[in-house]
């Protein structure tokens, strides 16, 4: 069995104890709620999308809700990673992160720019790699990301 130190890296515990970008955004920011049916966790993702010269940009993001260390730290790191990025870059990052989680992606999904996926930087998020060794926790790690996609779909 994989050791717990693979799962509970210091950076993960840090984001769990001190989550970044906690809070809410008022409308017209998009808001989606994600549920983990397994454990009852709920996560709120708020994104503000603004049009810029190079297309839509995630100008602000906030995260609410409750969850375990993995879902909360993943949400916190995600919020840092996507703030200020173009929506296209954010979608690419989601794809990249799901790859890290060994999740099969829908290759026919043309909304994702594969060149951007190549160049996407996971940074701190790499710390979540250990989750793959604990398959039941993958859903925890991806909860915020799927909720983010729902929020982006609303603002599209």
């Amino acid at each position: 069995m994989a050791g717990l130190e693979d799962l509970y890296r210091e950076i993960i515990l840090d984001h769990y104890r001190t989550p970044r970008n906690r809070g809410e955004l008022p409308p017209p920011a998009a808001h989606a709620v994600g549920h983990n049916p397994l454990c009852g966790d709920e996560i709120d993702v708020y994104v503000e999308v603004q049009d810029g010269p190079n297309g839509a940009v995630v100008s602000d993001v906030k995260v609410g809700g409750q969850g375990c260390s993995i879902s909360q730290s993943s949400a916190s790191m995600m919020s840092q990673a996507i703030k200020g990025k173009s929506v296209a870059e954010v979608r690419a990052l989601v794809r990249r992160f799901k790859g890290l989680m060994s999740i099969d992606v829908d290759e026919s999904d043309t909304s994702v720019d594969l060149a951007l996926v190549e160049s996407a930087k996971l940074g701190d998020l790499e710390a979540l790699q250990g989750v793959v060794k604990f398959p039941v926790r993958i859903k925890c790690a991806t909860l915020a990301w799927n909720t983010l996609l729902d929020a982006l779909a609303q603002s599209a």
Binding site: L7, L13, L38, C39, G40, D41, E42, I70
Partner: protein, 420 residues
């Protein structure tokens, strides 16, 4: 099988002997034994159940109710013997009041779909409680959406018992009162006999969800004066795939069938059908035959231990768990539900420091301590507790006090990781 469960005077069960009957406990994970504290979810299986099912398949398997050859007649007898054993286990009046389903969830859905559709109309009231499992909530919500019935709820006291102060007004005008005999989250045992009497006094029928109660206590549906009882085989040492519904004969007789198909009919013509008598009326299609054989062995196994002994054992382990966990962890642990062992079973939902239950169960798993983390299919109750999830340790006949200590040690290692 030899009975080795005489036990001594001080202990109600000889746990070491009981444990020896469960082959899964021979398995080591990472070189360590399994500390299985998830029996409220589903129980482990004794060798006698495993043997009964495999021997039946190897030597006696055949269809039931359909064929005249000896093998089929024997299989039918074995299947019906499981029904009689179930009848005795819950002290029902007649064997044909016992209907085999897929699980307790299906039993409860059968009641709602059959009795509910035949008897409930817009505005009719059904009383539930705040500590119900989703299986005793969602089917009623479905009926409410389709028929416009009205649901009322019995609230809880601060220590997680039913607050019966306003029971009479809540029951006023109700047609059914459906409640659990024991909460799968709080461990609370409800006063079933009193609740049945109150329901009847108000002109309502009493439906008991016995999932968590029947595997752990002496059950007597006649003494309760209940109208329906739903429970599952997999929570009482039997196989998954078979559930039980007991119903009062007069009610079952008057109810329309639930599923249609083979076995449930007396006659089928081009222009319609007539139903078979009980219990076949509610057993459409090929039933869980092998599972019924396993269920029978499980009921025999529990009966050989004695359900009063099972209850005593669980009260002892509950007293020990409550005392030792609160002494050791003080305010760092919050155990939900009653603190009096007379009012509860050995199922403990708890919060430990600020550690999320998912993280707790992950750390406990490192020591092979199996607990459930989550909402326990009781989201309305979880909202009342103000926790989206709890960790839950549930003890059964094969658990002893040393496993409470292992749980406590494992909790300590969780605080090491989370530094709380």
């Amino acid at each position: 099988m030899a009975t080795r469960h005489s036990g001594d005077a001080a202990m109600s069960l000889d746990v070491a002997a009981v444990r020896a009957d469960f082959p899964i406990f021979d398995r080591l994970i990472d070189g360590q034994p399994i500390v299985y504290l998830d029996s409220a979810n589903t129980t482990q299986k004794p060798q006698s159940v495993i043997d009964a099912m495999s021997t039946f398949m190897a030597t006696a398997y055949a269809p039931i109710n359909r064929s005249a050859y000896r093998l089929a007649a024997e299989a039918t007898d074995a299947f019906e013997a499981a029904r009689s054993a179930t009848q005795k286990f819950i002290n029902a009046r007649r064997a044909h009041e016992v209907v085999f389903t897929k699980n307790a969830t299906e039993s409860l859905n059968l009641i709602v779909r059959s009795w509910g559709y035949a008897n409930l109309h817009a505005g009719d009231v059904v009383l539930l409680t705040h500590m119900e499992h989703h299986a005793n909530i969602v089917p009623w919500h479905q009926l409410a959406a389709e028929r416009g019935i009205v649901l009322r709820w019995v609230p809880l006291t601060a220590d997680g018992q039913l607050d019966l102060t306003n029971l009479a007004p809540l029951l006023d005008g109700a047609k059914a009162f459906s409640f659990t005999a024991m909460s799968n989250v709080l461990g609370t045992i409800t006063p079933v006999r009193e609740l049945c009497a109150a329901a009847h006094a108000a002109g309502a029928i009493a439906i008991v969800d016995g999932c968590q109660y029947v595997p752990h206590n002496v059950t007597d549906v006649q003494a309760w004066d209940a109208d329906f009882l739903a429970f599952s085989s997999h929570k009482l040492c039997g196989p998954s795939g078979i559930g039980m519904l007991w119903g009062r004969e007069t009610l079952l007789d008057a109810m329309p069938p639930f599923l249609g198909g083979g076995n449930m009919i007396a006659d089928v013509r081009l222009d319609g059908f007539t139903t078979a008598p009980l219990p076949a009326k509610f057993e459409a299609g090929t039933p869980p035959i092998i599972e019924a054989i396993g269920l029978h062995a499980a009921l025999q196994f529990l009966s050989s231990l004695g359900m009063a002994n099972v209850r005593d054992h669980e009260m002892q382990i509950s007293a020990y768990a409550l005392r030792s966990l609160t002494e050791r962890f003080g305010d760092d642990i919050t155990i939900h539900g009653p603190t009096n062992v007379e009012a509860r079973g050995a199922t403990f939902s708890f919060a430990f420091r600020d550690i999320h239950p998912h993280d707790l169960s992950q750390v406990l798993d490192q020591r092979n301590v199996c607990v459930r983390a989550g909402h326990h299919c009781a989201k309305p109750l979880m909202r009342l507790l103000g926790a989206p999830a709890t960790a839950r340790a549930s003890f059964y006949i094969y658990n002893d006090e040393s496993e409470v200590d292992i749980l406590a040690d494992a909790l300590d290692s969780a605080s090491d990781i989370f530094g709380t």
